[in-house]
């Protein structure tokens, strides 16, 4: 497998770009001889790269270092593969164990993909959470779910967070638990011309899971976020600003975003020190 990687140096070079740094769970400390200026320590080795033909298209990566800070979940390798006459055939996610301990089964899981429309997602989720009394054909009537999980990976992470934030705003006082981890995605690319060469790529992408629950969750769990309770407090503080932002859910303090000048005034009024010295 690793010798195979050594052969197709060019492709490895740009394939490494979408995950900077070592893969978890891969022994990446093997010295790999790559002739394209890739430092072995930083080369990401992909398992399961299979080449069904030796006629790999020559890859021209214009001297760019493999770990260029490309936006990580946006795969520049995908662009290169597309330019090289490759077409993605299929993409499967490997579903890991549920990251939330003690989660009841039967909780609604919303899988947010990159192309998902937020209004479709929210329409479905809101209907479930707010309780649809109508029953479809005598099936199970759901009197309003208590918990919902939003999961997304790669480019869909931002959309996942946005969906969760929208739901929190519409359905107030939800407890949130956020978990981050890596997910391995397997993609199969095949060549558009000829269709003889085929590549399987294992790519590790960051993924996020957000649990929203009407029931209180364990506050000691890392990633826990209480429902916002300080909107009223901000409204009197934020006289100058428009409608207050939603809760700034930082662990340090529930202070909203604001301008600096404004912040100095208000902070001094509060007696909170904003001196730069720590």
């Amino acid at each position: 497998m690793f010798t195979g990687c050594g052969v197709v140096t060019g492709q490895n070079q740009y394939l490494t770009r979408d995950v900077a740094g070592p893969h978890p769970g891969l022994e990446m400390n093997r010295p790999i001889q790559m002739g394209n200026g890739v430092t072995p320590g930083s080369c990401n080795v992909y398992q399961g790269q299979t080449y069904s033909s030796s006629g790999q298209p020559a890859v021209n990566v214009n001297g760019s270092s493999p770990l260029k800070p490309a936006p990580l979940p946006v795969p520049p390798p995908a662009l290169k593969l597309g330019q090289e006459g490759f077409k993605k055939v299929c993409r499967t996610e490997e579903d890991g164990p549920c990251p939330f301990p003690g989660l009841a089964s039967g909780v609604l899981e919303m899988r947010v993909k990159e192309g998902s429309k937020i209004r479709n997602l929210m329409g479905f989720a809101m209907a479930r959470m707010q309780g649809e009394k109508c029953v479809s054909g005598g099936g199970v009537s759901v009197g309003g779910l208590r918990q919902v999980v939003f999961t997304g990976s790669g480019r869909a992470v931002t959309k996942t967070i946005t969906c969760a934030e929208i739901m929190k705003r519409k359905v107030g006082s939800l407890h949130q638990l956020t978990k981050l981890r890596y997910k391995v995605v397997k993609e199969v690319w095949e060549s558009t011309e000829g269709g003889t060469s085929e590549m399987t790529v294992h790519r590790t992408v960051p993924s996020i899971s957000i649990l929203l629950s009407k029931d209180p969750l364990d506050p000691q769990e890392p990633g826990y976020q209480p429902p916002e309770t300080l909107t009223a407090l901000w409204e009197e503080k934020e006289g100058v600003e428009s409608a207050p932002q939603t809760a700034c859910k930082r662990p340090c303090g529930p202070l909203p975003y604001s301008t600096f000048t404004h912040c100095k005034r208000v902070c001094l009024g509060e007696g909170v020190s904003v001196l730069p010295s720590h």
Binding site: P222, P251, Y257
Partner: protein, 148 residues
Amino acid sequence: MTEPRNPGMSSTAPVHPDATSPAVEMDPVEYTLRKRLPRKLPKRRNDVYVNMKTDFRAQLARCQKLLEGGGHREICVHGLGLAINRAINIALQLQTSSQGALQLAANTSTVELVDDLEPEDPDEAGEPMTRTRNNSAIHIKVFYPDPQ
């Protein structure tokens, strides 16, 4: 009045300065104001704000330096919009390179961003408008768990 404004107003997509003057249209002033650091955080040296302009490895190295050399037991990585992915990646990289000694705690929030739209043509009969939009942000606390 609507036609000349259309090129500017039709930019309902996140690209604001499309047919109009570039940075002025987006009014970085107000945008920057909104993007100011949250109040308490500027004085915390263990805060790292991630953006898409700086080199990824440089930001990662900075976080690592804060954790190891700086003697901070925890750092907080923030990301807004597109930088959310990068922030998550930095946090996960820190965790894997520490061989599991670090733990992550992620919080999410919504940030309001304001754009000022100004008519491109000064002779145009149109007044500057502001548009507010929301963006998601993530705050990831990377910390060594307290020994129990």
